[in-house]
Structures are given as structure tokens and as C-alpha cells.
């Protein structure tokens, strides 16, 4: 299976096709906090930098248990797992373009406004396995940085060095195509047809 090594260039993600399964290695930033997303957008609106540079990088909706070591020498990440990305639809178009993201992900996808932002930016959405906690957590190498530690663990802005996270399924590509939109439309058409035929 192909492994995407971060950071990535536009050509790297342009080549990815819906349904491709890939692994991801390198520094990945994550959070599942709505307040975290709001804070990121507020900083961008104020023209101030985010605490992490994600240009050509990845921002995933992964829920991670992380904690400070008792001896105060840093943080450890115990496990991670994706959550439903659609909760963050309102924030993602801004973050995708302003942060220069090449990969976003989690599970269940993003809306059309995000897909359009991804097309403009050159970015794909990866679907990871919900209920993949122990399997996916094998990719954790080390904690790179933890910001906003006043939040609960999974809401912090966390960057981990990962090795072969995945598999992730390319579910929204860098050309505006969304598997989720296609499948939802197909399902509605099939349901309408079944209802007409009964």
C-alpha cells in the first residue's frame, strides 16, 4: 500500500483517486474540539499565526489521549481514533486554505464547501476506521507538540510524529469529487426508485 510522507506537494495529492487506500507518515496535527476549531479560525481572522505550521501538512479529526509525564519532561500519546468530521464543516474551508493543508481526515467526510476549498488548495480527505483505536494507534512514534493544554485531552491542538497511519481511504479528492456526495445522491435515487416500484 502506498505511503504518503509528509510534507506533501500539490502534485502528490492531485494524483490520488477516490477509493485509493494509503498510509500516512510524518508530523500530523489533530484535534476534535469545536472550541479548538473556533480558536484557530479566530486567530486567522485576527491575522495572527497558529501555534503550529501546517503548510503542506495534515490536520486530522483524530481523538487522542495525551498526558504530561509525571516528571514533567514532556507529553505521551497513548492512543488515537477518528471522529466524525462533518461536525467541523463550518470551520474547515477556512482552515484548509489558510493553513495550506494537503491532507484532512477523520471519518464521514466534509461538505461541498470544504471539497471546493480542497480543490482550490490541492488537498484530499482521508477516511480512517472509526473503531480503529488500537490498530491505528500503532502508528504513534512521539509527541511533537501540545498546545492549549487547558482543554481536555482530545480537544488540544496536538502534533504527533506518525509512522504508517492507516489505511486511510481517499474519500474526497483534490479535484472537487466527494465519495460521500456521490453515495448520498446514489442512495436517494435508489430509494426513490424502490418507492416508485412498490
Amino acid at each position: 500500500m502506498k505511503t504518503l510522507h509528509l510534507p506533501l506537494q500539490r502534485a502528490d495529492v492531485d494524483a490520488l483517486v477516490l477509493g485509493d487506500m494509503v498510509m500516512v507518515s510524518g508530523p500530523v496535527t489533530m484535534s476534535i474540539g469545536l472550541p479548538t476549531h473556533q480558536r484557530m479560525v479566530d486567530l486567522l481572522d485576527a491575522g495572527r499565526p497558529l501555534p503550529v505550521d501546517m503548510n503542506n501538512g495534515a490536520f486530522f479529526h483524530l481523538s487522542c489521549f495525551n498526558q504530561e509525564r509525571e516528571d514533567g519532561t514532556g507529553h505521551d500519546a497513548l492512543y488515537l481514533n477518528p471522529t466524525t468530521s462533518t461536525r467541523y464543516n463550518a470551520y474547515m474551508p477556512r482552515l484548509i486554505e489558510a493553513c495550506g493543508l494537503r491532507l484532512v481526515g477523520g471519518k464521514a467526510g466534509l461538505d461541498q464547501a470544504s471539497a471546493e476549498a480542497m480543490r482550490r488548495q490541492g488537498c484530499v480527505y482521508l477516511s480512517f476506521l472509526g473503531g480503529g483505536c488500537t490498530l491505528l494507534s500503532r502508528a504513534i512514534e512521539r509527541v511533537v507538540s501540545v498546545h492549549w493544554t487547558e482543554y481536555i485531552s482530545q480537544f488540544r491542538l496536538l502534533t504527533l510524529e506518525l509512522r504508517a497511519l492507516g489505511p486511510g481511504t481517499v474519500a474526497i479528492d483534490a479535484h472537487g469529487n466527494s465519495l460521500y456526495d456521490q453515495l448520498r445522491l446514489q442512495a436517494q435515487q435508489r430509494l426513490d426508485q424502490m418507492r416508485q416500484e412498490r
Binding site: Y79, T83, K107, S127, C133, T134, P167, R184, R190, R195
Partner: protein, 289 residues
Amino acid sequence: MAITSEQIACLIADLYEWSLKAIPPDTRAALAGLASRESSVTGRKTLRVMLQSADTARRTGGLVCSDIGIPTYSVRIGTQVRFDGPVRQAIVEGFARMVARSDPPILQAVTNPLTLVRGHAGKDMPIVSFDVIDNADYLEISCAPKALGTGRWEALTTFVYPTLQQMEDYVLDTVMLSGSQACPPIVVGVGIGGTFDHAARIAKDAVLRPFGQQNPEPILDAMEQRLLRTINQLGFGPMGTGGDSTAMAVHINYAASHGFVPVAVSLNCWINRRTQARLYGDGRVERIE
């Protein structure tokens, strides 16, 4: 002999922990069956990763999913059971004990809806329903942690003199809304009739029914088959990235009602968390699932 608070607290903690670290055997078998029949390449691969994930968690004692949900228990009390000590307090203590000892530690999921403050405890937590079993000499406890992935899509509406078709359409519309988002293949539990609260309760009972039990009501047996067939023709597939494995099962309960008929739809994701055990007066624990 009487069942003690300590015995209840121990079982409450164990049931939750068991539910977090493995999927039910019938669910694993259902997923393996789907993997052998799935026509989509992506869907087939995703189902295999699901099996790998569940097996890895079981083998290593890790969590299947990091969203450990909020605690919900169903307690059925045999009428021959005697208690030595408080029961509800033991349930609260048992869940707190599981939180304190959990390895790995669990994330804070219990959320105050008024302040959005999160923790491991909160008002009415754990959510417990009680019922009785006539003449039984045991306490039967089921645990079904409820997480965000499916919890946000469960729904209830109240009809007046509905047709079977109207009720089926409501179930299908609810599944359509959850679409790719509820970590399919899902289990769909439906409660028809009774009152507002009772319909939700029997829908939850339905979603937790083990696979392979035929519905004793022929009308509902046929409805379950129709709905399962239709849902699996929608194409959402495993994790909602395409395929014909969108649901593992549809289970329907009903109760007599008035001219108004509540219909509740409960959903479980592919890991289908449910554990159940019986606790006897001599302290013996019989694990059902």
C-alpha cells in the same frame, strides 16, 4: 443469600470494560460473513480492516474505539433476589471504579448539556433502566455504552394510525440521514407503539438483540427482512465509503398503543457494543455476552 453492593459494583465495572475491548462474537461473525460477500473492493478491504481492528483490541487489551460513550445499563431484577446494601449507589460506584482503573485511561465523554463541561460523571449518570423478571433468582445487567457516532442520529416521531409503509419509510429516512456517518455496517433497532418513552426503550432493546433470533411476530419478521434488504441496496457500505454492507441487522419490537403510534429508531455502529451478565445470590457471575 443476598446480592451485595460490592458484587454489583464489580460487575458494573467489568461489563463496561468488556464492552470497550472487544466486539460481540456474533458481530464478528456477521462482519466476516459480509466481508466474504461484499461486492465493492473498497468495502471488502474496509471490512477486513474492521476485523483486524477488533482482533487487535481483543488480543492486546486495547480499546476498540476511543469514544467510550456515556454509560447506560439495563438492570432486570429477579423477584426472588434479596439485596444487602444500596443498588443505584453501587452502579454509580461501579462505573467510577472502572474509570479509575481503566488501562489505558479513558477520555472524558460525559458532557453537561447546559455548560458543555466534560468529565467522567454527571447528572443521572450512569443512565439506568430497571425491570423485573418474575421468579428469577438472579440480577441480569446489560451494558451498552452510547457514543456520538450513532447517538446523534437516533430519532423518534409519533404517527396517528400509521400504515406499515409509513413506519418503514420513517426508518429508511432515518438511516438515510445517518448515511455514511454512523460507522456502518450498523444495527438498526426499531420500537413501534406504546408511549413516547416506551417506544424508545423497546427500540434500544431491539438494537441489542443478539443476531440470528427470528422475530416471533410474522408481520415484523417480514418488515425486518424488507428493511434490511432495502438498506443494503442504498450503497453507503462499510464506513460509508461505498459497498452493499450498510446494515448487519434490523430488529423490531412493538407494543400495543392508542391511535397515536410512536416509532423510535435506535442505531449501533459496527462495533455493536453490548455486554450482559447474570449475578446470583451466591456471588456467581454468568456472562451471557
